[in-house]
C-alpha cells in the first residue's frame, strides 16, 4: 500500500497509544489524527517521552497498547511495506564516521525506496542547500556537530516519503540552518506531507498548519 501520489486522503491516526519501558509507563492513551499538510509539534520537558513517542510511530519502539493507523490500516506491528511512508531522523545521525558525507548519504538513500532517480547527482546538487557542499568528501568524523546534523537533514531534500518524523531537528544548527529547516518543513506540508517533530523551541508559529502536543508526564 505504498501511496504514490495519492496524497489527498492521506491520514495518520494514533489511538490510545501506550508505551512501557522496563515497567515504567512512558506515556499512555495518546490520541491524535493528522491529515495531509499538518504538522504535530511535540513539546515538553526533558524526559517526558517525546523521543519515545516519535520512535513508536515508525515502529522502532513497540507500543504496549493502542494502534498507529495509516489510512485506517493498523501498522503498529511493523511491516516494511508501510514503513515505506516514514522518514525518521532522530537524535543520532545514522552517519558512519569512517565514510564521507557523500557516501553516507548515498547509502542512506539506497535504503530508501521512494528515491527513484539518479542518487549521485541529486546528492551533489542538494548538499548546497545547507551549504555543506565543500564537505562532500570529508569523513564524517571530521565534521563539526552542526554539520553532521546538516548532513543527516539533507536526506529530507532527497526523499519522497510522505511522513517525516523529526526528533529535535534544530539542535546544534546555526540560525541560518534552522531557518532552512523550517522552510523545508513548510514546503513539505504544502506538498501534502505530514510531519511529526519534537522541539524545545516552539516553532509552530512559523509553520502553516500545525498543532502543538504538550507532553508532560515526566517521572
Amino acid at each position: 500500500m505504498y501511496m504514490e501520489n495519492a496524497l489527498e486522503n492521506f491520514e495518520i491516526s494514533i489511538s490510545s497509544a501506550t508505551c512501557l519501558k522496563s515497567n515504567n509507563t512512558i506515556f499512555s492513551d495518546i490520541n491524535y489524527t493528522l491529515k495531509s499538510g499538518e504538522l504535530l509539534l511535540v513539546m515538553g520537558p526533558n524526559g517526558c517521552g517525546k523521543t519515545t513517542f516519535i520512535k513508536s510511530i515508525c515502529g522502532i519502539q513497540k507500543l504496549e497498547e493502542g494502534a498507529i493507523k495509516l489510512n485506517n490500516v493498523d501498522i503498529s506491528h511493523g511491516d516494511s511495506q508501510h514503513l515505506g511512508n516514514f522518514l525518521y531522523i532522530g537524535h543520532k545521525n545514522s552517519l558512519n564516521d569512517s565514510l564521507t558525507v557523500f557516501e553516507n548519504l548515498e547509502y542512506l538513500c539506497a535504503l530508501d525506496r521512494s528515491i527513484q532517480n539518479n542518487i549521485k547527482s541529486e546528492i551533489t546538487r542538494n548538499l548546497s542547500f545547507f551549504g555543506i557542499e565543500n564537505y562532500k568528501n570529508y569523513l564524517v568524523s571530521k565534521l563539526s556537530e552542526g554539520n553532521k546534523k546538516k548532513t543527516s537533514l539533507t536526506r529530507l531534500l532527497l526523499t519522497n516519503k510522505k511522513v517525516w518524523l523529526l526528533d529535535e531537528p534544530l539542535s546544534y544548527l546555526d540560525e541560518n540552518g534552522a531557518n532552512k529547516v523550517l522552510k523545508l518543513l513548510n514546503n513539505h506540508l504544502i506538498g501534502g506531507g505530514i510531519i511529526i517533530a519534537s522541539s524545545h523551541i516552539d516553532f509552530s508559529v512559523d509553520i502553516g498548519n500545525s498543532k502543538v502536543f504538550y507532553m508532560d508526564n515526566s517521572l
Partner: protein, 220 residues
C-alpha cells in the same frame, strides 16, 4: 540500489586495499607462535597443523564478529536500517558474506602455501580447505548472531565468545572427523555432506534470525 548497498558493505573493508592482507598476516602470526610455544619438533607440529589452522579461523571469526553491529547501533544507523522499506534480510546476508570474504577467505586461499611450510600432503591440504570453505561461513554467521544478541549490553569482550563457542563445536567435530578420515584413508563424504547441510540451512535462515534479534535489541 542493491548495487550501491553491495558496494557499501564491501567498501567498509576495501577502504584500505591493504587491509585484505591483514587476516593473512594475522594467520601467519598465529601459525608462527605455535612452534615457539610447543617447540620446533617437526613431527609434533605436523600432526597439529590442521588443528592450528582451525583455531586460527575460530579466532579470526571471534575477533571480526565481536562488536559487529556496535558502531551501527551507536550512531543510530541500525534504527534507520531496520525500519527501512528496503530488503533488510538481503543486506544482512550481504554483511555476512562480505565479512567472510574479507576475513576467512584470504586465509583459506593461502593454505596451500602453509601446507608447503609444514610438509602437508596435497590430499590432506585439500580436505582442510574443503572443510574450511564449507564451515567458516557458518562460524561467521554464528559469530555475528552472537554479537547481535549482546548488542544492548555494556562492553564485555569475553561474553560473546562464550555464547557462541558451543555452537562452533558441531562444525569442528565434523571437520576434524573428515580430516582425520582422509589421513587414515576411511570415507569422509558423510561428514562433508553434514557440513554442507549445515551451511545450506544456516546461511539462508540467519538473516531472518538476525533481523528479529536486532529489532529486539533496538527496542529496549
Amino acid at each position: 540500489m542493491i548495487k550501491t548497498l553491495f558496494y557499501k558493505e564491501f567498501q567498509n573493508y576495501f577502504r584500505n586495499l591493504s587491509s585484505i592482507f591483514l587476516p593473512l598476516i594475522f594467520f601467519f602470526l598465529i601459525i608462527s607462535i605455535f612452534p615457539l610455544l610447543i617447540g620446533p619438533d617437526k613431527v609434533l607440529l605436523n600432526k597439529i597443523v590442521p588443528g592450528i589452522v582451525w583455531i586460527t579461523i575460530i579466532f579470526t571469526t571471534l575477533l571480526s564478529s565481536n562488536n559487529f553491529f556496535k558502531d551501527d547501533y551507536n550512531n543510530g544507523y541500525l534504527e534507520t536500517f531496520l525500519t527501512s522499506d528496503s530488503s533488510v534480510e538481503f543486506i544482512l546476508f550481504l554483511k555476512i558474506i562480505s565479512c567472510w570474504l574479507f576475513t576467512c577467505f584470504p586465509i583459506i586461499i593461502f593454505i596451500p602455501l602453509v601446507s608447503i611450510f609444514f610438509n602437508i600432503s596435497m590430499k590432506d591440504s585439500f580436505i582442510i580447505i574443503s572443510t574450511l570453505v564449507i564451515g567458516s561461513p557458518v562460524l561467521i554467521s554464528i559469530g555475528i548472531f552472537g554479537s547481535a544478541l549482546t548488542l544492548g549490553l555494556a562492553k564485555n569482550s569475553i561474553l560473546v565468545p562464550i555464547i557462541i563457542l558451543p555452537f562452533f563445536i558441531p562444525i569442528l567435530i565434523f571437520s576434524a572427523s573428515a580430516i582425520e578420515s582422509v589421513s587414515s584413508g576411511t570415507p569422509y563424504e558423510m561428514q562433508i555432506y553434514i557440513l554442507l547441510a549445515l551451511l545450506v540451512f544456516v546461511l539462508p535462515t540467519m538473516p531472518y534470525l538476525l533481523k528479529y534479534t536486532l529489532s529486539l535489541s533496538i527496542n529496549n
